[in-house]
Symmetry: C2
Subunit: 336 residues, 2 copies
């Protein structure tokens, strides 16, 4: 089914108010969920709402708490999320990084004790809308084995880079796993193999069989040993800078909570050559767009390009949502 943006937001707003969020916060969070779904990221949009409600109910997300600054060191700030809703905390910290960047050229906020920020790209689009370049990343619960190891002890630690652009921002929103487990499950439901290996089977062999991989959640990092190392250093950076919990600690909890994040912003307009920068950016996009396709029908995109196309289509036609998920959301709203 397809649901118009406004309708989805109104329903989610009511739902979040029902579960105790203030109207301001309910409005803010419902907007974030709807925008992610509008952009086609249902996994961290509407599909994720039931789990968010569960986390409110089990106390992992504390709806009356919010991130606050606990230390300032030059252009770096440390914030404590107090286990409040991850989207509000992350957005607040990105706002602060934007402010710092506009004052100093660059700014950095490290956040601890926060919760899942849902779609990482949200904060990339936020910074780019404010005219800032952003680099931000988060740690997660363990869901991939470190290279050479048997058990999942590193996180898929999403890594986001955003670059403001008049014709549509460039936004890379990339987990360090080759495939999200949600994606692997989609393949399973369709009885299809993954196009490339995506995790380890029960015999400790790399596999592209979703059924086998999902028996034990051991995802494959992008680039094998390279992504494994990248995941580790991202965890180290968020943990050290925020003085927060690492993937090790997060993994000891029943629910993924109390994670650490870093938000870095750069304000490119401090340079006196914004026009030149824009020209240089278009040159890179044109060069990669204009490449001959490898296989008929293939096409090359810049990061964020398809998101924007999906957004425009869904604004016009309504947002595609699974009947089952939508019913679940309505049940949460209508039942006690």
């Amino acid at each position: 089914m397809r649901i118009p943006f406004e309708q989805m937001q109104a329903i989610l707003f009511s739902l979040f108010v029902k579960y105790g969020l203030t109207e301001d916060k309910a409005r803010f969070i419902s907007k974030i969920y709807c925008e992610s779904t509008l952009d086609g990221i249902n996994s961290h949009g509407i599909n994720r709402v039931p789990r968010f409600i569960e986390y409110i109910k089990n106390g992992s997300v504390k709806i009356d708490k919010e991130a606050e600054c606990v230390g300032t060191f030059g252009i770096i700030e440390r914030w404590d999320g107090n286990l409040g809703p991850g989207m509000i905390n992350a957005s607040k910290c990105m706002d602060r990084a934007i402010q710092l960047a506009k004052q100093n050229g660059m700014g950095c906020v490290a956040l601890r004790n926060t919760n899942h920020w849902m779609r990482g790209g949200t904060y990339g689009w936020q910074a780019a809308d404010a005219g800032c370049i952003a680099i931000c990343f988060t740690n997660t619960q363990p869901n991939m084995p470190p290279w050479g190891g048997k058990d999942s002890r590193i996180g898929n630690n999403p890594f986001i880079v955003a670059i403001p652009r008049k014709g549509g921002h460039v936004v890379l929103d990339m987990a360090i796993s080759q495939f999200a487990f949600g994606k692997i499950n989609d393949y399973r439901l369709q009885n299809k193999k993954l196009p490339f290996p995506g995790g380890w089977d029960m015999n400790d062999e790399l596999s592209n069989d979703p059924e086998q991989i999902l028996k034990k959640e051991r995802g494959l990092p992008i680039g094998y040993w390279k992504g494994s190392a990248l995941s580790m250093v991202l965890d180290m950076l968020v943990t050290i800078l925020a003085a927060g919990d690492s993937t090790c600690k997060i993994g000891q909890r029943s629910y993924e909570s109390g994670i650490s994040q870093v938000f870095i912003c750069i304000y490119p307009e401090i340079f006196d050559d914004r026009k030149l920068q824009e020209k240089l950016l278009e040159e890179i996009i044109d060069y990669t767009h204009n490449v001959e396709a490898m296989k008929p029908g293939d096409q090359t995109y810049y990061p964020g390009e398809r998101t924007l196309a999906t957004r425009q289509q869904n604004l016009k036609e309504g947002i595609p949502v699974s009947d089952e998920v939508w019913q679940k959301v309505l049940d949460f709203l209508n039942n006690s």
Copy 2:
């Protein structure tokens, strides 16, 4: 053969002086080449010296030029490398980023018109030795197809993250290609297949056959479409921030020259809890070290761990160098 560090450095020093570098610069560059070789990175150490000499001879590297600051914007500086030796330029810019970080918590230097920095890890170790966290990256000539495209139009753009640590720094030094072409050639020489696909063959199929991949240099990005996107945004960042040349422009030259780089530093000692940070870092390392091995004999390492082990071994036993490469270096030194 194995050559002691001091002997290698003395020979390279004489070689660089012969090719017109000042004694100071010759000493500096020979040290960088020797340290990379000592660490086992021969590809960007001694093996690369002949090409560096060629680049001096063909004018791509201008030995009398050096990087200079061309603009300051808050804590961000822009430098122009004036096509001087890449190692001297990069090291100077990393030094400046370290200074800025020690003053402000964080610093950033963007460098344009520079040359190959050889081993990117060099500047990570440099920052970590100075007590700084570093994130730095460079663009390169095109050597991988953007995802969906036929021809190489994105670079393998090495990406480095360094974190200072008493027991041995954490240094991730990672090109965005799954395998370096030098590594692919090593497999070819040994008549072996790559353990995983590393590039495209002449039929536009992914291949692990070094012979086939090397017929046309089209490397595979880590994580397929993910590394393709990551390579693009790294190129965009260095190009915009430095107002320098992108992979597109670099690819139009006969030699890889005039590249762009970014050096970001964070000074973790500005926080008043260095001891806590150290504890948190060890926790991550212990957690990933202590994982059960997936296959007998496998082991998990933190990024930089094996480099340090190689360094210690080679300091004791001398640095392994191919006879052929060493003879080439001696020929450059002894012949006119």
